[in-house]
Symmetry: C2
Subunit: 83 residues, 2 copies
């Protein structure tokens, strides 16, 4: 069993309206030092296999097919043995 | 200037319908080894100060007021010097 963590970020050139909205809220609350807020996804799951290569391939396939929009987002992942 | 990274996760006891939905998609595509998918947020921003303590306090305040729902979510952050 492996525990996988996938971080999904919008590419630098893609607008992030959610980040912009939160940052406007920040300005209204007086946080004037905050800039360039970008909001991505942090995904955790388990892969039920004992083989590292199998786990790695499943994480990449799962990410590319369901977790990440390949037109706008990049992802990175890490795997650690669990149990 | 500091670059801040904040990771927001739903607490273990809080349902994650988005994670469940993605995982159902995974099952339909034949990923049968994947389980317990949980989707959180990964937030990056810059804090325009040279003082570490100030940066830290701003990151915590910004997180607690705008990025995190304190009833359902926990967060962790990291700060690194930028420029």
């Amino acid at each position: 069993m492996y525990k996988a963590t996938v971080i999904v970020k919008k590419r630098a050139k893609i607008l992030d309206p959610q980040g912009k909205a939160v940052e406007q809220g920040a300005k209204l609350l007086g946080f004037n030092d905050i800039s360039k807020t970008r909001i991505g996804k942090y995904i955790e799951f388990f892969v039920n296999t004992t083989d590292f290569e199998t786990a790695k391939n499943e994480v990449i396939a799962y990410s590319e097919k369901l977790l990440v929009n390949p037109n706008m987002e990049d992802f990175e992942y890490s795997l650690e043995k669990a149990e």
